[in-house]
Amino acid sequence: MTDVTEKQFRALQAEVDVLAGAVLDTPLASVPQWDSLAVLLVITHFEHVYHVMITGAEVRACSTPRDLIKLIPDAS
């Protein structure tokens, strides 16, 4: 399961450039340029890869990349 999470996180990092230097538990509030554009890129990534539409409010409620990964369907 951890491997899956890591793999999903690496895929997310590839599309959301500002997460390049982050790890799973980095507070998003501390990520430079974690902004409204980054939120759009996260929504797009979920749409492209998982074919689900998440909302901006769901993304903004996440504290860390691990929380973002938890939004993936079937991810625990």
Binding site: S36, L37, I43, E47, M53, G56
Partner: protein, 358 residues
């Protein structure tokens, strides 16, 4: 709702932009934003220049200029117009409407019908639908459709998510009844539950403008705006665009019997490059058939963006021959309107700023 209208055509198109050029990078640097951050946004969203209206120039002035230039290019007399529809969210007054004011300025016949449609980015296609109805079933031979806004006035310069997006423009479109069959399909829809995603909270009857409605407050991201400003929830609007617009486009194409390979172009409301490319990809249009470069030249022009894209990207072809077009406007309401059908050949008055610098 699906609607099939026959026996009308778009005979002419023109767009007038604001005359003041604003540059995203220069404005951002003047506000102390690091260059690397600006370049990242510029590249992803497609922001570069935008043309905003000079002070005291309104959407009415921009549309009047577009209409006068188009009528002149088409050698048409204002008295030949049977109805005028004005699509705007930024009218000169709460009453009378802009259509009546432009009716007077252009000297239209007293038998010409005049009304406004209070819509933004979905408004040109919705206005086209209304103009087509008037021609096909409403006794009009020729309708002047004006669509435009000065949204740059409504954003707060300290709101770094909304302020850099908008340009100001007015468009004029001549729609005519024809004897030839020319079926055009429309799909129109709304999601009023999403109304708060794009809203100017104050200045209407619910919350009249006053001292208290001009108190600036920061949002969750630290952007400042007050209740008379345009509030834009970018993530929600993006979500709405990806959720509702591809099915509307697929539906109108299915009604018209078009595939993305058969259609010559997909002309979307030019919200920004990121949204246009995301929607176009979802409905199977390659980048070369879905113009997305309008925003970096002019900004998001609200209801004038589709006519501007038609002229900028396809004008040379459309003035020569007809194209199988699919288009969709979407935005404030929330609302959307899509069309699919043959457009052209038509007469174009070029994109031009107003006032023209001497």
């Amino acid at each position: 709702m699906h609607s099939l209208i026959n026996h009308f055509r778009i005979a002419g198109l023109s767009v007038t932009t604001g005359s003041v050029r604003r540059n995203f990078i220069a404005d951002g640097q003047a506000n102390g934003i690091p260059l690397a951050q600006l370049e990242r946004i510029a590249k992803t969203i497609g922001l570069r220049d935008r043309m905003v209206a000079a002070s005291n120039v309104t959407a009415l002035d921009l549309c009047e200029d577009a209409a006068r230039r188009l009528l002149s290019e088409m050698n048409l007399d204002a008295s030949s117009i049977d109805a005028i529809i004005f699509v705007t969210q930024t009218p000169d007054h709460s009453q009378p409407n802009n259509a009546s004011l432009l009716h007077g300025r252009l000297g239209l016949s007293k038998s010409a019908f005049a009304f406004d449609l209070a819509l933004g980015c979905s408004g040109w296609v919705t206005g086209l639908h209304q103009a087509a109805l008037l021609c096909a079933h409403g006794g009009a031979g020729r309708v002047l459709l004006c669509a435009g806004d000065t949204l740059s006035r409504l954003t707060n310069i300290k709101d770094r998510t909304a302020d850099p997006l908008f340009g100001d423009a007015g468009s004029a479109t001549i729609v005519e009844r024809t004897g030839q069959p020319n079926p055009v399909h429309f799909v129109l829809g709304a999601d009023g539950k999403g109304a708060q995603s794009i809203i100017v909270p104050a200045g209407g009857a619910r919350q009249p403008a006053g001292e208290l409605t001009r108190v600036e407050e920061p949002d969750a991201s630290g952007n400042l705006h007050h209740d008379e400003n345009l509030h834009l929830d970018g993530a929600e609007v993006f979500n709405f665009s990806l959720r509702e617009i591809p099915p509307a486009i697929q539906s109108v194409m299915q009604q018209a019997g078009y595939t993305s390979a058969q259609a010559d172009a997909l002309v979307l409301h030019q919200a920004n490059k990121f949204i246009v490319e995301s929607v176009a990809m979802k409905v199977g249009f390659t980048k070369d058939k879905a113009p997305a470069g309008i925003v970096e030249k002019f900004g998001n022009q609200s209801s004038a963006s589709i006519p501007c894209a038609l002229i900028d990207a396809l004008g040379d072809t459309l003035s020569q021959k007809s194209l199988k077009l699919v288009g969709c406007g979407f935005g404030v309401g929330l609302s959307w309107a899509a069309f699919a059908g043959e457009v052209g050949p038509l007469i174009i008055a070029p994109i031009q700023p107003y006032p023209v610098s001497k």
